[in-house]
Symmetry: C2
Subunit: 116 residues, 2 copies
Amino acid sequence: MSIQLRPIQALRLWQQASLAEVREHRPDLTERQMAILLTIYLDPPPHTVRGLADRLGVTKPVITRALDTMGALKLVSRHRDARDRRNVLVKRTVEGALFVERFGDVVVAKASELPL
Amino acid sequence: MSIQLRPIQALRLWQQASLAEVREHRPDLTERQMAILLTIYLDPPPHTVRGLADRLGVTKPVITRALDTMGALKLVSRHRDARDRRNVLVKRTVEGALFVERFGDVVVAKASELPL
DNA sequence: CATGATCGATACGGAACCGAAACGGTTCCA
DNA sequence: TGGAACCGTTTCGGTTCCGTATCGATCATG
């Protein structure tokens, strides 16, 4: 058994969750930024720029720029890898963890309100 | 009964669907743009700039700019209201309908793959 | 008809984004 | 030890985004 969702429910869920975020004036992240943020918080570390670029199928500058913006928002942080100083390790922050957790709760709440 | 989803599942679902979109090089819409697009396709018409601005809790220029971009992508279209020529009616397009339907299918597919 | 209200669009300066190419720093290895 | 390979960042010109304020067009009202 798995999560059963009809297309119209999936779209309604996405709309309601997105609307809630926009109406509460959360940072207007792009789909790419959201994919990066959730990957950092859901996939096991370590996370590097190259690794994230490969995971998303985009170029490295895309990741660098997204990390710039999300770093300014304190959603992620960057640290040089001491073992291989070419690498940058992307890490979670307290603010980022709170953001992600709260977002998950919003989606759950909107899912529970969906008409069958 | 309603759609039951745990926070970790909600986050995984959002990640997997977003990742799939990014990897297939779909337009990198912002959360605001996605909320506008889904509202146009899910909520009953008519849709005006003012109405969408109120629904999202943002200013009118935000809607105008989003419609500019999504119009260039052929996801929505604009038409003057013949009854009240101050209004602009935002309408669906074939391409937009296909985009939304396909996106719904992606979310459904990712939901069905979620671990319980 | 004139005036005020309402509509969506536009101007502004500033910020973030794009893809492609090049860059400096680090590590690997012949 | 000197390339070659790899890393993340920066640069470039160009586009889109922001919020605030204002615009011209249109409609409703007196």
